[in-house]
């Protein structure tokens, strides 16, 4: 899709440069100024994935333990740091913990021709 940072289609919001998020890293975003990150982006095996910052076990429970810290130390699982639930970074499937078998809510991402990362809220 043709997208520029000045004029994103309705519903799309610019987050950062796509290459600002390295392999095995995560970053939270608060595009609506709610005072708390409403979504986060992880890069795993080269691909970027965006998830709502809401653990499925308690509606809307924020997941990081520190700003931008959504992953385990190895960068191989998304972790809810409320009760330790672990999720696959690419499918959002909970593989261990209180909500095993449930999934995170995925948000659509796109990288524009300039390398800017946009999310569809």
């Amino acid at each position: 899709m043709a997208t520029t940072r000045e004029r994103a289609p309705a519903g799309w919001v610019r987050l950062c440069r796509a290459d600002d998020i390295g392999e095995g890293q995560s970053r939270g975003f608060d595009p609506d100024d709610e005072g708390q990150d409403s979504l986060f982006v992880v890069r795993w095996q080269g691909q970027l994935h965006a998830w709502r910052n809401a653990c499925p076990h308690v509606q809307g429970a924020p997941m990081a333990w520190r700003r931008d810290a959504y992953l385990n130390a190895a960068g191989t699982r998304v972790v809810c740091h409320a009760h330790g639930a672990e999720f696959m970074p690419d499918s959002g499937l909970c593989v261990q913990g209180p909500c095993r078998g449930e999934r995170l809510i995925r948000l659509e991402l796109v990288v524009d021709v300039d390398g800017e990362l946009f999310v569809n809220k």
Binding site: M63, W65, R67, A69, A73, H81, A82, H83, G97
Partner: protein
């Protein structure tokens, strides 16, 4: 069975440096810390101990994924230590460790330890409210709000909350085998438990939960009072840590609370001003719900007063 309370909690972590920074930012004092782990003490010497998750010296958790590996309780004297060891040896393995402590396992799979308490007594007045007609007041010219930059430290390890698959069995173990008392109860959820050597409303709270939740809900340290605790909580948030629930005040136990996410697979709480009860106290029973858990919940408004650069309605707008 005069257990005086929690002495330490041992956690397996996957990022020692990050967890250490977290505990120091919470207010604990680092003691003997290396890249393999270390000990983080409150004012009385009670502590959180962390170790790398691949450390072979760590006891196993109750289930895979549970980062709490051991709950150590303090006892008043050697006779109590011997009595606990004898009681538990009736139906399970009990080990005497080289440091003289006793190690075993409870009925829901948590490794438990007992040692002569190493709590260091100290005297430092807690928060005092100035009330007309009152008897005890703050010294004249002393301030109720902790000034910026003041040092705030947790005073003592307060309590741990377990998710257990069989709450009746778990309660029976702590009451019948270790001499704990139920002080209050959430119907169908579980009991608040007090050991015989403490007046605190609870050092343990048990929550009946499905097997896949087996583990820890939270643990916490007592702070000197609500103003100190809430100030510490705001400082913690400013350092980038994630608040979960609070600040507020519980009904059962009356403790002020503020819960945060943590790198320990459970919440960490800051608490202050918990009720104390003796054996004459009659346990209450309530239905578990948010309404029955918080008597109030505070919300900060950063801009509430009209002024330069602030809308007429502050951030109510």
């Amino acid at each position: 069975m005069k257990i005086v309370g929690l002495e330490s909690l041992v956690f397996a972590v996957d990022d020692v440096r990050g967890a250490a920074r977290f505990l120091v930012d919470y207010g604990l004092t680092a003691v003997d810390v290396s890249d393999r782990g270390g000990r983080f003490e409150a004012m009385d010497g009670t502590a959180v101990v962390i170790a790398r998750q691949d450390d072979p010296a760590l006891p196993p958790g109750p289930v895979p994924g549970c980062r709490l590996r051991k709950t150590v309780m303090g006892v008043a004297d050697e006779a109590t230590l011997g009595a606990i060891a004898a009681e538990l040896r009736r139906d399970r393995e009990v080990r005497r460790l080289p440091d003289g402590s006793v190690e075993s396992i409870d009925d829901c799979g948590f490794v438990i330890g007992f040692q002569l308490t190493a709590r260091r007594p100290f005297v430092l007045p807690g928060e005092i409210s100035n009330a007309p007609g009152g008897v005890v007041f703050r010294p004249v010219n002393s301030l109720g709000v902790p000034p910026p930059g003041s040092v705030i430290r947790p005073r003592s390890l307060s309590h741990v909350v377990y998710f257990v698959p069989d709450v009746m069995k778990a309660e029976a173990f702590y009451v019948n085998r270790l001499g704990f008392r139920c002080t209050d109860r959430f119907t169908g959820t579980g009991p608040f438990l007090q050991p015989a050597g403490s007046l605190d409303h609870h050092t343990h709270f048990l929550i009946g939960a499905p097997p896949h939740m087996h583990g820890v809900e939270h643990f916490t340290f007592h702070f000197g009072g609500p103003s100190e605790m809430i100030t510490n909580g705001y400082r913690f948030v400013e350092k980038g840590y994630q608040a979960f629930w609070g600040p507020g005040r519980h009904i059962l136990g009356s403790n002020w609370f503020w819960y945060f996410n943590s790198p320990f697979g459970c919440h960490i709480e800051m608490d202050a001003d918990m009720d104390q009860h003796d054996a004459s106290w009659q346990p209450r029973e309530a239905t578990a719900s948010a309404d029955n858990s918080q008597t109030f919940l505070l919300k900060m408004r950063k801009k509430w007063y009209p002024g330069p650069g602030i809308p007429e309605n502050g951030d109510y707008a």
